[in-house]
Subunit: 448 residues, 2 copies
């Protein structure tokens, strides 16, 4: 539909220093796309481009830039420009930025912000990370219960210009206690002289500034709300959290869970923006734990040196057994952990989970073991060796599936993030147990 | 804030057949919560409860019920009730349901729907699964360019009652070609006699009915839009896709990616609702592939029977090496696959990825290898054995990290879902290579 301007074309204009054409092109673009383009430019050129933007667009673009570029821009521009920029930003965006910036720069920005903005910023900066307070916005539309629908619409007309969302309007009393919610749709379709009090929905759901932002995001998503009101300790309305913020929160949580499940410390920044020292640090701790827990499987296997010397062929199946245990365990724990994150699995379902997974282990394990047995015998293997391996395989899958349920369930009971019970940890424990079973079976069946 | 009614209390009322109190309690509840409660009841009681609902609420509740319960309800109620129910449903919800229901029931529902609803349903049912057409809603607000702001507000007042979202209004010409978008906020804050044409934003972004719904969801999320217009082959406006639908799409995609990365076929239904046969079927294929690929590592290890007989201690470290390779590989591939899903990583970044991961492998691998060497020597191990294992460890991590980048990148180039290059597959290949390196080193260093 739109003739989108390509980054290549824009890059050309920057290179040619054709500012007139550049300004015209920027005027047709969305702030998100402009920011993506500036992020891809060297810092010098990015700064030039940023200065070409109209004042009204600059704040939107700024809030979408990478932190590193925001910092450099904030350092490079004049105090007067900083004031204008931070006053124009939505408070929640400004807070996000300040949290990432070095202390001297934060001080300079706060000194230059208008006193209203500074007061708000200071208030927000006190909320803990990942709390509703840190992601909410103070820009919402509030109405009084005794307004008529017509007065409410006039109120929105006069004060609605800057508000983040006017779709849901919140009704508060003189003490700012939250009374109800009313949509613009309801106001517009109501009789002009109907009172807001009679039109609003009372008993509106709300969240608290110190609640976990993920909890609020799940509520918004569960009920398909566009926004949720946020109240303080005295139950006074202080902000709203909107569906687009919630979508970001859920996206970040899904990424964090993925990283934890793959045995990493979660990262604040996108992968490509994370330095190699941080990447290494995020990964090495778990690998160290897993390496040290490898000592246990060493001890187990070490106990069976005689059996190994007698039937060295047994060793050939160790990697396969180890992989199957790890894979089966990660299949189950992934489903359980994701189910917990989406609130589909709770503590009441634990017994059902175990029952289900025992059955699935047998449904999956028995055919695989039979096939494995046949394959080894057909290719000339010893039937008793084939039996040892195949029985060990079924036991391994059974253990992996059971531990795949047990670990996330235990973690949750201990109030630990289930994703932290990383699937590699399950793999290591299944390894140890399956080596023990494998070689014990070998001893019993093969008499070694 | 609200005094939420507990499920226990509701259950009690159902058990007591206290329908009066039940009806009063239901009247204060959100449709999503009522549906969650009915989902938790036996089918008989669920049906009774459903019949207690007010007509206006029933459709909302119905659209949130589990498919199995929807089917049973639809089978149990009268033709007249079906007509009322499906006419009251949002079209996209009705389509979702029909797609899950058995053919005879679909036929009965379509026969009983009003002719308008039937025509719409038939139109929607033709869109492929996962396309924008299958998740869009036809209930949007459209304006004409020559309306004044005041006329537009009156239009919304009269026709806006049923619309899914009136926040973004789309401006179309007489041929229904999409001209622009205007927010209710802009209409309300504009001068009453200003023309829509002058107020609207032209060149609005849109998606096509046959586009992938994930693409549309990412666009909504990227630009923080509340809705996106959907056009047909002739560029005529036929529907909108809203941010809450997009949040669901992204949620489902994240779950599917997780399942694929854990070597499973993705499931349509939540984990607890999936039968054990389906669970087993989703998992067994990958396990079979991995089991068969284990034959290769068997052959590799089999070639070194002499070395194993000479130094059986070598075997003790196989599980640790195998686990470290698998874990390192899954750390990297998780970051790369997630980065691709979030559009943070593209083909241009491939060389940087490899450079980064080689450095991180060394940063992570060398200290771990040193520690491992020290630990084995201190506990009385042969230094040459310790050296063999430690060098193999560094090589394993290096290979795992490289393959962790290579596999998702290759998959993407081959237009295959990167998540399908499941991390267990990387683990198996790293296993084979690391056994080869380990025993070759042992042969060279230990002369066995």
């Amino acid at each position: 539909m739109t003739n989108r301007i390509t980054e290549a074309h824009l890059g050309l204009l920057v290179g040619q220093r054709n500012y007139r054409a550049l300004r015209a092109a920027l005027a047709t673009m969305n702030a998100v796309d402009i920011a993506a383009f500036i992020n891809a430019l060297p810092a010098e050129e990015g700064l030039i481009l940023f200065r070409l933007l109209q004042k009204t667009v600059a704040a939107d673009v700024f809030s979408e830039l990478d932190y590193e570029i925001q910092r450099r821009l904030a350092e490079a521009i004049h105090d007067r420009e900083i004031t204008a920029l931070f006053d124009a930003l939505a408070i929640d965006d400004a807070v996000d930025m300040l949290e990432e910036m070095p202390a001297p720069l934060v001080k300079r920005i706060l000194q230059n912000a208008s006193s209203d903005t500074r007061a708000l910023l200071n208030q927000y900066l006190r909320f803990p990370e990942d709390s509703v307070g840190s992601v909410m916005t103070a820009e919402f539309t509030d109405l009084r219960p005794d307004m008529t629908a017509a007065e409410a619409v006039t109120h929105i007309r006069s004060f609605g210009q800057d508000k983040e969302t006017i779709y849901n309007c919140y009704v508060v009393d003189a003490q700012r206690l939250l009374l109800g919610v009313i949509t613009v749709r309801a106001l517009l379709t109501a009789r002009a002289d109907a009172r807001v009090e009679g039109l609003m929905e009372p008993g509106v759901m709300s969240v608290h500034t110190t609640d976990d932002s993920e909890k609020a995001a799940r509520m918004l998503s569960r009920y398909s709300f566009i926004s949720l009101p946020v109240v303080d300790d005295e139950q006074r309305l202080v902000g709203i959290i909107t569906i687009d913020d919630a979508a970001n929160v859920l996206q970040e949580e899904a990424t964090e869970d993925l990283e934890r499940m793959a045995a990493m410390a979660p990262s604040d920044k996108p992968y490509l923006k994370t330095g190699i020292m941080t990447l290494a640090k995020n990964r090495v701790l778990w690998l160290l734990v897993l390496m040290l827990s490898g000592i246990v499987s060493e001890l187990v296997v070490g106990r069976f040196e005689v059996a190994i010397s007698a039937v060295p062929l047994l060793v050939a199946f160790i990697p396969m057994l180890s992989d199957m245990g790890g894979d089966a365990g990660s299949q189950v724990s992934t489903l359980v952990i994701r189910g917990m994150a989406l609130d589909e699995v709770d503590s009441r379902s634990t017994p059902r989970l175990f029952g289900k997974e025992v059955l699935v282990s047998l449904l999956v394990g028995l055919p695989l073991a039979l096939l494995n047995f046949g394959r080894i015998v057909v290719t000339g293997g010893e039937p008793l060796v084939a039996l040892t391996i195949s029985v060990a395989l079924v036991c391994t899958i059974l253990m992996a599936n059971t531990l795949g349920v047990l670990f996330p369930v235990l973690a949750r009971r201990l109030k630990v993030d289930p994703a932290l019970m990383a699937t590699p940890m399950i793999a290591t424990i299944v390894d140890i147990l399956s080596m023990l079973i494998y070689f014990s079976l070998a001893r019993a069946l093969l008499g070694v």
